[in-house]
């Protein structure tokens, strides 16, 4: 049988490496902020032109507005992002009219966000994220001991953070839908973790084998291993269907989530229970008995 607990130091190393990598990637590449968080104009268009041809076509836009054209993977749909500038309402109408007249380009979606509003959306999303994480922490703390809450929250932040690094690495647009994806990763991660916590708690409260913490940790993982793998597998199966079949502007969310499931599985198998142990939970258990 695999001794998961003995891997904990190596796992910490892996996790630390991932965190450092994420920081480095974000530092150097930054986040590809969508117009939700940056403001500006976004078009999804269908066109049989190439990216270069489109770039040339949009050359007429003032050079002080940055234009970003990206082909959605495996389709004839392009996302065109134009920075906001002066007198946006007029600009939007003008550009819409110009594109409308081009028979080679069909507008599927156009979207404009005022920069002041996107600032509000950032604030809003941070509130949403922070409050949900806080609620998770409080709930786990009430249901379990604080060591569990601390470890669970660490794993969750770890998974979300590394997923942000993944998005930065592959230049995936960071927008409101992605905030939802990140929270989903958080939810999945804590879900996995709690299932293990429940097991560990019931094993450590069992009179016969409560003393050997390491065995208990290994048993908790072993007994749940099949479930962890099955659930990750079915979830990924469902997500893969979404990746290949979701409308082009929504394929990135399931991709990020698949990565989140993988990293979440790693952290729940190798990280969380190790952290609980290192937070001196063993000593707490012993103290409670005497």
């Amino acid at each position: 049988m695999i001794n998961f607990y003995s891997f904990k130091n190596k796992s910490y190393l892996v996790s630390l490496t991932l965190i450092i990598l994420t920081i480095t990637i974000i530092f150097f590449k930054g986040l590809n902020l969508g117009i939700d968080f940056k403001g500006g104009l976004n078009f999804e268009v269908k066109s049989n032109l190439t990216t270069n041809q489109l770039n040339e076509y949009f050359d007429f836009i003032d050079s002080d507005r940055e234009v970003l054209i990206k082909r959605e993977v495996g389709s004839d749909v392009f996302s065109i992002r134009i920075e906001s500038g002066d007198n946006n309402p007029v600009f939007i109408e003008e550009i819409k009219n110009i594109i409308d007249q081009n028979p080679d380009i069909e507008i599927l979606l156009s979207e404009y966000i005022e920069p002041t509003f996107s600032e509000e959306l950032i604030k809003n999303s941070i509130y949403a994220l922070a409050s949900s994480l806080l609620v998770i922490a409080v709930y786990v703390w009430i249901r379990f001991d604080w060591q569990f809450a601390a470890s669970g929250i660490f794993a969750l932040l770890h998974d979300v953070f590394v997923a942000i690094g993944f998005m930065s690495l592959f230049n995936i647009e960071f927008n409101l839908t992605m905030i939802a994806a990140l929270l989903l990763i958080a939810g999945y991660s804590i879900n996995d973790t709690i299932v293990l916590f429940d097991r560990l708690r019931s094993l450590t409260s069992n009179e016969e084998n409560k003393d050997n913490f390491e065995t208990n940790v290994n048993n908790s993982i072993k007994l749940n291993l099949r479930r962890t793998i099955l659930t990750s597998f079915t979830t990924i199966l469902a997500l893969l269907c979404l990746v290949f079949l979701a409308p082009v502007n929504l394929t990135e969310m399931p991709i990020v989530f698949i990565f989140g499931v993988l990293i979440g599985t790693f952290s729940s198998l190798f990280l969380v229970l190790g952290i609980v142990g290192d937070l001196n939970y063993e000593a707490v258990l012993k103290a409670r008995d005497s």
Binding site: L184, G187, R199, A238, C241, L245
Partner: protein, 485 residues
Amino acid sequence: MIIFKQWRLWVSLLLLIGSYILIKPNFESQTSDSKINFGLDIQGGFSYLLELNEEEYLNNLLVKTSQYIENTYSISSDIDNGEIVISKNQNLDALTNIVIQNLGLEINEKSDKQNSYIFSKQSFNKSLSDMTLNAVEIVRSRVDFLGNKELSIQKVGLNKILLEIPGDLDNNVKEVISKTAKLTLHLEKNNIVGSKTFINEETGEQVRVQEIPNITGDFIQDASLQYNQNEPVVAFSFNKEGSDLFAKMTSENVGSRFAIVLDGSLITAPVIRESITGGSGQISGGFTNETANNLAIILKSGSLPTQIKIIQEKQIGPTLGQEGVEKGVIASIIALIAITLFMIIYYKISGFFTVITIISCLSLLFAMMSLLNTTLTLPGVIGIVLTIGMCVDANVLIFERIRENFKHNIEDPKNHGFNSAYVTILDSNLTTLFAAVFLFAFGFGPIRGFSISLIIGIISSLIVTYIILKLFINITSIKYLGLQR
């Protein structure tokens, strides 16, 4: 038969029938309040997020309050930097704490010479929010002046309005909503003090008039497009109060000019030739049919309390939406089939129970969504697919626990296994549920659509595993569950 002694059987049937009744209206053509709506990203259409100007509203409110204090208590005041400043060299006895509180004010600074007041945050927010509600109605009557469109207009936050128009759009919506349409009538005044010059931007005509309007557009009862010598004009009529004011103003000032001002720019400045008692008038001046019609619509709807700014604008073509739905539905069905096959191969009969559980979970979910008149968006569809995932997870947890109990010869492996697994499921699902509730409360746009289906989905999943899955486990002998490997 043992099955009829199970309370779960009757509850399951009740759930099934209830879901059927609730889902049914979705397939009927007539409109109903309990139907699932499709978001704009699914059916295509236009969405605008409008923001009313908070600063402008604050200023208007300050002026109004200051005038009210002057008229009611004969106490004069100045407005300075968001404050009402009242000098102490007058009798302030009437200005008791209760009066100040009722006006929504609170003291900001006290000195020997003067007191300054600001609006308390609570009362200002309340007032701002009421103003937005009022503006929602104005926007509605402007966009939907015929009352035949399927619009969704709602207040968002304190001073924002989300306007969603499914389907096609006549082009002048943006034009109509972004005009404040503050119509004011001012008498000519030649003194510099208290006067203001308005300019007609097209003709360059200018006239110096009294700054505070004599009559405002608030008194307008009706406005329409009419023709005067084949030229489109906007005809308007005042209500009783407005007619009286207009009659008074015109009869007392025969021979002088007055200015008709719209949103701060002069439209025309006719000379009063005789007193006008009918309470109606006409605005002419270089209109086309369309512009005259737009002006008539917005005058009739009343003026907006402040300027409106479009801070988010979205237009989703019908192709993308349709493609989205088709692909989303196909994706969900394929995901469902894939999971189903996998579960049946892996768990045999138990896997088949999972399939029934998933289908019941989905019908309960759609039933609740219909009941709550939820709007289903594409992120919402993703939320539903994930709900299926959570439901499968619950099933796996239960099966694995039963299998384990069976292996260790624990007494009553089915019940024992189900119960201990269900505690775990509750713990893990409730954390996600709480997180989703907060996400819904603070989130915006796609986040809300996603969290609402997650919330409803988790609840359905918890209910169906507890009732329907347990029913099947109860009535099946452990030999046939396919869990004894």
